[in-house]
Symmetry: C2
DNA sequence: GTGAAAGCGCTAACAT
DNA sequence: ATGTTAGCGCTTTCAC
């Protein structure tokens, strides 16, 4: 894309002359209360003629309500905070976009913060958001099992995103990691593979991940031995390293299930450099369903997460009408997006997305 | 990545019992002013013993200052807004991350909003941010020549990002589009290409883009005829369409300069499907310097934008110390990241990033 | 249908 | 060094 930055001549944030409710009231010849009634469409009715006068005054004066004052009075800022590890990561940027949409639909603005895989920064972000009087926080912790104590001490409604814990006393919505891994591995098995590796991402907290369980279950259920587990970061670079390690494996598997699409992309490069073709020599399935996976060569078969749906449920659980229901754990199913990297032949070179099956609940 | 969402038992935003400055004051046996002095480290000095008492009270009571009240009093929310077309686009998600970092470093929180290529939504976002008393807005408009009138009527300090206009009376910081295109095309020419196509993205506003100029200039300066221009969206899909059109070109060029990395990724797929190899049959250079371009196969030579530097300058221009300087136009140079797709042989398969040259100012 | 006024939590003069 | 207090702009109860 492009780039240029332009700025208004600065006058300092506070020197902009605020038009207040009072100015409008005076101009329209009414009281400040009436202006409020008009602006908020309540709680009292206003005569049509009066309302017209007020609206005209608002327009003429360029009045805009002061959200800070409103927030102070109401104790709610109509604002929520999002804490993610890294907005440059396609999975999280998509999630952030979906959360922003869902929040905006409910009239909430979204503070975005990155914790960059850094627990201390995550805490700082949480505190900063709490201080800013957000009405709630959606936290995608760098820890698979997030620090609940910290959250509680922040004393703020929160939704944990991207975690595999059933935190006591908390609602939860998430994806069925184990189930997703299962359908991926089962699909690989249906292609005739019997030696299937797992490329597993390592979390900051180094906790156990459901994808590992699902991979193992699928193998066991099919009476197959476990292939090697290669651990590395969830990133492209991590996948690249994992791919190189894979190439050095002694009894080299013929298939790999990778725990993220980015990792799979990295593996693709390592295999390509090693002269190993996908899917002819080695089949590969990723996890996430990111847009990038659709355009790799070969296109990447992947386990899709219902990002938008999850974002919507998370936001609604935080600030929606259903606010007062009891804690609830929502686990979303995944689905397999079949493309080329698994060995299936897709109509054209990989335009994508034949749906395979819903994941069984684990 | 993973996913699960967990939520605190809701009590409604306002029912959280606010601990106020007054509670702290009473508990510590001091006045509210002293609490302020301690919290803000000024403007008055406080005796060490008193300060200790206050800090202890703050800790014990779990006091957190109310940002809304502070914002109301001070007329500044220590908050800025970002308006981008699409946070799912890697270029913008990287930009957003960089802006967030730069803002956080200065103590500002960041509202993120997406306009989704929709001008009406962009305006709505602008108004919503203005109403929220942000101290400034960084706007990456869907229009190449953004609507200055709208911005002015919003009456809020603003920085335009990602635009090619020298808006009168506004500061500007941006990338040298024409210069970037030039170094890309010149590099292609140095590989011996004489018939070089341009894959040009189309903006919402359909305005003229400096990359087209740079491409033309480089060709003209080298005494070469202009190759075909293929217009499509800046996206992967757009690139894919462009690639298919390219394959049907009569006097088919041997090189393509694409106006975005995503477009180049799409072109890569189309060419691959058409049995045309990159760089052997056709050389390709992208624009942006996104991480994704490093992992395509072949890895993508691309014109890098100094995203982080631009974000920092933008934020600082908005809210930094230099706030009161006169309007200024900042144009950043680009540099060429040489990898495989242009025909250069890079040490390993494409680990990346030999720097070529700084762009001359256009 | 409209208005007066209290008060949300905070900052910073202005007292002491 | 510490305390008192006005007031930021808004919502809403309570009067009229």
């Amino acid at each position: 894309m492009t780039s240029i930055v332009t700025m208004t001549p600065l006058e300092g944030p506070s020197s902009r002359t605020q038009v207040t409710r009072k100015d409008v009231a005076r101009y329209a010849g009414v009281s400040t209360a009436v202006v409020s009634y008009v602006v908020n469409d309540g709680p009292k009715k206003v005569a049509p003629a009066t309302e017209a006068k007020v609206r005209e005054a608002i327009r003429l004066l360029g009045y805009r309500p002061n959200a800070a004052a409103r927030a102070l009075k109401l104790g709610s800022s109509k604002t929520i905070g999002l804490i993610i590890p890294d907005n440059s990561n396609p999975f999280f940027s998509l999630l952030a976009h979906a959360v922003e949409d869902a929040a905006a639909a409910l009239g909430y603005a979204l503070f975005m913060t990155n914790s960059d895989g850094n627990l201390a920064k995550e805490k700082r972000n949480l505190r900063s958001l709490a201080a800013r009087q957000v009405d709630g926080v959606i936290l995608s912790s760098v820890l698979l099992y997030p620090d609940l104590a910290e959250l509680e001490s922040a004393d703020i409604p929160a939704v944990l995103l991207n975690h595999a814990t059933d935190a006591a006393g908390f609602n939860s919505v998430g994806v069925d990691l184990a189930g997703g891994a299962r359908i991926a591995v089962e699909h690989l098995i249906s292609h005739g593979h019997t030696n299937i590796a797992l490329a597993m991402g390592t979390n900051t907290g180094n906790d156990f991940d459901g994808r590992e369980l699902g991979w193992r279950q699928a193998l066991t259920d099919a009476g197959l031995a476990e292939g090697p587990i290669i651990r590395s970061y969830f990133t492209r670079d991590g996948g690249y390293e994992a791919g190189k390690k894979f190439l050095r494996t002694v009894n080299r598997p013929t298939a790999i299930f990778a725990s993220s699409d980015m990792q799979a992309i990295g593996i693709l490069r390592a295999l390509s450099e090693g002269g190993v073709s996908v899917p002819e020599d080695v089949a590969l399935i990723g996890f996430d369903g990111s847009a990038e996976a659709e355009y790799s060569i070969p296109s990447l078969t992947t386990v899709e997460q219902p990002t938008r749906a999850m974002a919507e449920v998370a936001v609604r659980a935080l600030v929606g009408a259903s606010s007062d229901t009891e804690p609830e754990q929502r686990i979303f199913p995944t689905r397999l997006l079949i493309r080329r990297s698994c060995g299936c032949s897709v109509s054209n070179g990989g335009d994508s997305t034949a749906v395979h099956s819903l994941s069984p609940l684990s």
